[in-house]
Amino acid sequence: AQTVTQSQPEMSVQEAETVTLSCTYDTSESDYYLFWYKQPPSRQMILVIRQEAYKQQNATENRFSVNFQKAAKSFSLKISDSQLGDAAMYFCAYRSPVSYGNKLVFGAGTILRVKS
């Protein structure tokens, strides 16, 4: 079974600075989907960015970008120009293309604190 590991329980960043959240996963598949979700204090789950494994180009959404290293099975999230509103728990997630039910496997999450 696939597993997703987020090795940083907590991270801090100064406002306007850049921070990178780590995520690694374990799989024997060659094609799959990866996601980053943000959960602010409201606990609403918000999609931040997604990446399809067959695409070599790293996904980017405004200040959010990923560093997808397929061989290393690494999928880190970079947040540039951090803002107070970025403070949240961030979850990395994996989906197998052959998973019955299109299930997502989530990592344990990283709490991001933004200092003003």
């Binding site: 996601f35 606990r43 019955y100």
Partner: protein, 112 residues
């Protein structure tokens, strides 16, 4: 556009009482539906998922059950709640393999 509704937002129930949490999706048909639980400050644990009416898959053995009586309705139930059932419950849906999960706003359940 598609929307997902989950209720109630908060619930306080005594041990041994029944539970019913409801989730409905609008604007799509035959979605895959999911129930997740999140303990305080922790990750998401998949409890149940459904690929169609009456089709329920359970990920972990527990005190809870799920049902899908209609295409876009997903219900999480318990006959007798335990203290350990306390947590934050999230309903979610997706349509296609390359689509993300879309989550409801969640239900905070406290069992006293």
């Amino acid at each position: 556009s598609q929307t997902i509704h989950q209720w109630p937002a908060t619930l306080v129930q005594p041990v041994g009482s029944p539970l019913s949490l409801e989730c409905t999706v609008e604007g799509t048909s035959n979605p895959n539906l999911y129930w997740y639980r999140q303990a305080a400050g922790r990750g998401l644990q998949l409890l149940f998922y459904s690929v169609g009416i009456g089709q329920i898959s359970s990920e972990v053995p527990q005190n809870l059950s799920a049902s899908r009586p209609q295409d876009r309705q997903f219900i999480l139930s318990s006959k007798k709640l335990l203290l350990s059932d306390s947590g934050f419950y999230l309903c979610a849906w997706t349509q296609q393999l390359n689509s993300p999960l879309h989550f409801g706003n969640g239900t905070r359940l406290t069992v006293t």
